[in-house]
Structures are given as structure tokens and as C-alpha cells.
């Protein structure tokens, strides 16, 4: 292939107009998917740092572990856990989409509808998870933890 810089002078492809036009970088689904993937990845990372330490308390004593786990059982933390699981589900399914888009030409062509399929699956999985988890969170504790 010859060395020319012709492609550098091609006009930029016209971006899709969205309601954000003019106020923000005019990204499409691809940009939102990247932003969400990055934010959720960082959030899960910091949770995991704390989570390995709290799990490590099983090596200290049953009382120490149970005392820290008790803090996970109040309703505020319950809502936090719901958000965390939402972030994990979104990062995981979008990660699978990124992998498919990278290795499978069909998925590369269809990355845009695939983003909406990912969002739909997130809603479906959370529709299963959220009621189940919140029933546990808000039901009275037996056994007096």
C-alpha cells in the first residue's frame, strides 16, 4: 500500500443528531456505552477492594465478621447493593457486547442495536433481581443478627 495522506483530507462523517447536539460531545450509543462501561468498571473496582477486606474478617473472629456484615443489612446499604448489582450487570453484559463487536463482523455492523439489546437485558435481569433483593432487605430479621 502506497504512502499517501489522502484519507486525512476526507471530510468527517456527519454525526447523528441527538437532542444533546451542541451542548455535549455529540456521541452516539457507542460513546454512552464506553462512558457507562468505564464508570461501572471503576465503581466495581473500589467495591471489590473493600469487599476482599471485609471477607478477610472471617479469619479474625466470627464476631468481627458478623459485626461488619450487620452493616450490610440495613436498608440504605440494601439500596446501595441494588445499585452495585445494577452496575455489575450493565458492565458484564456491555463487556460481552464489546467482545462480540471486536471479534465478530456481524456484531461490529450491528453494535448499535446490540447496545439497546444490552440495555433491555439489563432491565429484564434487574426486574428479577430488585424485587427479590428488596423483599429480603425490608423483611424483618429473624434470629436477631
Amino acid at each position: 500500500m502506497s504512502e499517501t495522506s489522502s484519507s486525512l483530507t476526507l471530510p468527517d462523517p456527519a454525526p447523528q443528531k441527538t437532542s444533546f447536539s451542541g451542548t455535549l460531545y455529540r456521541g452516539n450509543e457507542g460513546m454512552w456505552s464506553w462512558v457507562l462501561h468505564r464508570i461501572t468498571g471503576v465503581a466495581i473496582y473500589f467495591f471489590l477492594l473493600v469487599h476482599v477486606l471485609d471477607t478477610a474478617l472471617i479469619r479474625v473472629s466470627p464476631e468481627a465478621y458478623n459485626a461488619v456484615m450487620a452493616t450490610y443489612k440495613n436498608p440504605i446499604m440494601g439500596l446501595g447493593e441494588t445499585v452495585l448489582v445494577g452496575a455489575v450487570v450493565l458492565h458484564a453484559l456491555n463487556g460481552l457486547r464489546v467482545i462480540m463487536v471486536d471479534v465478530w463482523p456481524w456484531a461490529t455492523r450491528n453494535q448499535r442495536p446490540l447496545f439497546w439489546i444490552v440495555m433491555g437485558l439489563v432491565v429484564v435481569l434487574m426486574a428479577y433481581f430488585v424485587p427479590n433483593h428488596l423483599i429480603n432487605v425490608f423483611s424483618p430479621m429473624e434470629g436477631g443478627h
Binding site: 486525512l8 466470627p62 464476631e63 455489575v88
Partner: protein, 150 residues
Amino acid sequence: MTATIENPNYAYPARSKRGPSFEKAGWIFMRASGVVLVVLIFGHLAYNLIWTPGGIHAIDFGFVGGKLADPFWQWWDVTMLWLAILHGSNGMRTIVNDYVHKPRIRQIALGAIAVAAVILILLGTLITFTFDPCPPTADPSLLPSFCADL
């Protein structure tokens, strides 16, 4: 509509280096670990929060003792620990390289990520395999039920 770009070269051409490289290995690792992590983490969340009656309220020393007495869950947790920490740390490395441009601060941030990864992997692995579900001096009411039979 299709457009053919006659000469798709670019001011920053994709590196065409063949053979192994750290960045390429990292790229493959992020994808391979991601696929495995979906199974491990979804399983972890479903078992601990949904399928165990009581969910979050049921998690205590007895619950973890019961799980980690089983090699199946030991290996599940340790695999999840290694993959999640390495995947997350490598992802954080990318992000630091994107946003932190002062060499000194970048070095400190990358060093902190690496040190945290090593400590947490060692700590978590040690704990999973040296954990005693029935510590002899502990209050028996806090222990897994099978401790009474020992």
C-alpha cells in the same frame, strides 16, 4: 450506503508488530477473564443474594463457614478473586494512562494499583485456604451447624 476508502492509512497507523506484546496480552486477558467472570460473579450474586433463603440477611460467619468448607466454593471464590482483581487492576491501569499525564503522579498511581492487587490477591487466597470454619474458642452458636458433630 457504502463508501470505499481508497487509502485507509492514518497519521497514527495501527501497530502491525507481530508476536507477543504486553498490551496485546492485556487486551486478550480482559476479554477472556470477562467471559469467565460473568459466570463466576452472576453465580456468586445469585447464590448469596437470591437463592439462599433470606438473601443478604442470611450472610454471617456460619453461612461463609458452610460455603468455604467445600472445595468447590473455595476454588470458585479464589478464581473469581484472581480474575476480578487482575481484570479490574488492568482496567484501572488503562484509565490512569488515559487521564494522568504528569509522569510522577502516574507512576505513583500505577504503583498503588499494583501493590493493592498483590496484597489483596495474597490475602484473599490465604484466607480461603487456611480458613477454619470451627475455631475451637468461638461461641458455638455463631458457627456452621456441622461444627457440633466434630
